[in-house]
Symmetry: C2
Subunit: 419 residues, 2 copies
Amino acid sequence: MSDLTKQIHDIGAKAREASRALARLSRQDKDRALTAMADELESNPHKILEANARDIEQAEKNGLSAPMVDRLRLNADRLKSMAKGIREVVGLTDPVAEVIREWTRPNGLRITKIRTPIGVVGIIYESRPNVTADAAVLCIKTGNATILRGGSESFHSNLAIAEALQQGGAKAGLPENSVQLIPVTDREAVKIMSQMDAFIDVIVPRGGHALIEAVVSNARMPVIKHFHGVCIIYVDKDADFDMAEQIVINAKCQRPGVCNAMETLLVHEEVAPEFLKKLATALEANKVELRGDEATRKILGAGIKAATDEDWTTEYLDLIMAVRVVSDQEAAVTHINRYGSHHSDAIITKDTQAAESFLNEVDSATVYWNASTRFTDGAEFGFGAEIGISTDKLHARGPMALEELTTYKYVIRGEGQIR
Amino acid sequence: MSDLTKQIHDIGAKAREASRALARLSRQDKDRALTAMADELESNPHKILEANARDIEQAEKNGLSAPMVDRLRLNADRLKSMAKGIREVVGLTDPVAEVIREWTRPNGLRITKIRTPIGVVGIIYESRPNVTADAAVLCIKTGNATILRGGSESFHSNLAIAEALQQGGAKAGLPENSVQLIPVTDREAVKIMSQMDAFIDVIVPRGGHALIEAVVSNARMPVIKHFHGVCIIYVDKDADFDMAEQIVINAKCQRPGVCNAMETLLVHEEVAPEFLKKLATALEANKVELRGDEATRKILGAGIKAATDEDWTTEYLDLIMAVRVVSDQEAAVTHINRYGSHHSDAIITKDTQAAESFLNEVDSATVYWNASTRFTDGAEFGFGAEIGISTDKLHARGPMALEELTTYKYVIRGEGQIR
């Protein structure tokens, strides 16, 4: 066993031990620890900001783009808002110990299906250092120990934030090692974490293709991927054109760099000429570049770039949109189930029957009728906080919040029953 | 890509296509198909029994033990009971389309969290051919396509049963390829299945260590293991001795070869001398062989074999029981969380507070107070049918039935909402 493996297994064993102690804490104990964590982040910002300055310096040396550097940057305000986020989690309802179902069998056995912490949650993420606090805090709220593995760009910031959380937790009596950060940036660490199913109950990777692949191809435990969103909007022949235009512009342009922004537009052929010409003006005003199929280019002119098969599966995260004219709704649904990422897809129509069949047949985490895909978000759902958007089907699908950080067990009370 | 890989990928692609069609079926459609499957199994038993005879002949040539050969054996009665099992599933409630939760956001968006089929379920199992029918039928009931991969011992029987299910389904208009069986016994097939996450949404392996390991070390999709049960009963100092004896004898002896049978007994040191002496008589009458720790051997005599560390993690599946004396309840809980398999564990006590703390602190799928561990079973829970007992924490824990063969999606209805 290599030294690195030993080091990471040791972190795992400590997390497992901490998880047993965490599971016994009351809601009050956990909330007190979270408040102490928020206090600690706010009361002594200098150490974190110093560490962050080192990351920023390195990022600029490495030639990271200005928006990427900005994502990395912390300041007093951002730390305050991180602390505020923690205090909001304190106010949320802890789902642990909630009774999901309860029934009595004919033999008198009383069966209670009850929510419990998962145990140890591994979080592997890239870039923004605030994820360190967000993820740790949601895990503590639900009684889970957490092992964090952040990206190398925010390494020093992550370490400093984790240390502040640990110190705050310690002051409020949180079990030692409830929150741990892997203190190495070696990619090998991801592989080692992914294989230690004795110590980690679930891994949540948030990031790009290479990171997700490193986890998926090695993992021995359940993985809940937070991967990309190729969100698609289908404009039906019975759509309200004004509404369709507003929704498309919102879903594409309001914040193009996020996973619930739309990437592909499908239009029913009966209305494609009229609708696409109307939409083109708004798209131009918003500087959206198009990739069209043949029919789209016939309508809007050959000046538009031709879409290739690759466009249907591309998450542009930019003011670029693929457009395809479809012969009917079945073709739209087939396109979405085949090329989409099963994240968030919408139909715009006044026809209730068409809408219900779309909502039923599209195999995605979130399906919309007459609304923007941008609503796929823990806060917009009313969940209060989220650890991200799961692009997997099990055990969490779509916005992943506190409830999705729990599992369940069956508690059975008897009076001596035997078989 | 090897020919075998191509062949299995082709099965996967067909299953994915079938799953889209299956998801659109009504409850009546699915139940009609299940009834036709049951009819087909009963109406023409000769082909299945002939195929089974080939498996039995081979098993006897290979020197399989008599109980193993008996597990393989089919006859007209067993086929009838397989068909009866299918008809019982017809009578169960289909959880698909059930509304889990529904709420309206302040902006008017109506969010419905609704149960859906998972998609394509891979089932990898060993030995008993009836699993072919049981697993396929529960998947069809919940609108999932299934890819089955049975053990080589029951290869011909599985093929014949799958063919009968397919023919029955076809007569009732079930989508083609809803049920497929991998027609090769090569272990390589398990590896290929485990890696084709584009076509299989979840794999359920039921079997021994080598099978489980082949899946876990290769799988790219979620795995729900049906592994072993090292079930433990803790007899507290405030236990009713008669009740404790009845429960221990039942949990150990009523059917020792199953996963919810007990394997280890823990006894509080205060009552160990009196209780173990009382229990010894009953154990002897039931021909149970013991493996005791030092304290146990002091009480019952050195004639008892000494338990090694390995005994605490062994699933005997036989009339053998490990016994350990513990200093207090905390030691019992620590032992269970460390050495147990997180399957089913019990406390026997009259002390409510001790019981509640045990139920809370033991990290197992099912925890009992004053009842036999033998009740961990879909039918005993009132689930009507089960695909097995999950020894995993996500997405199904404990008895896995119809509900656990579904996932969910969010359906959102709006009137043009944008962000």
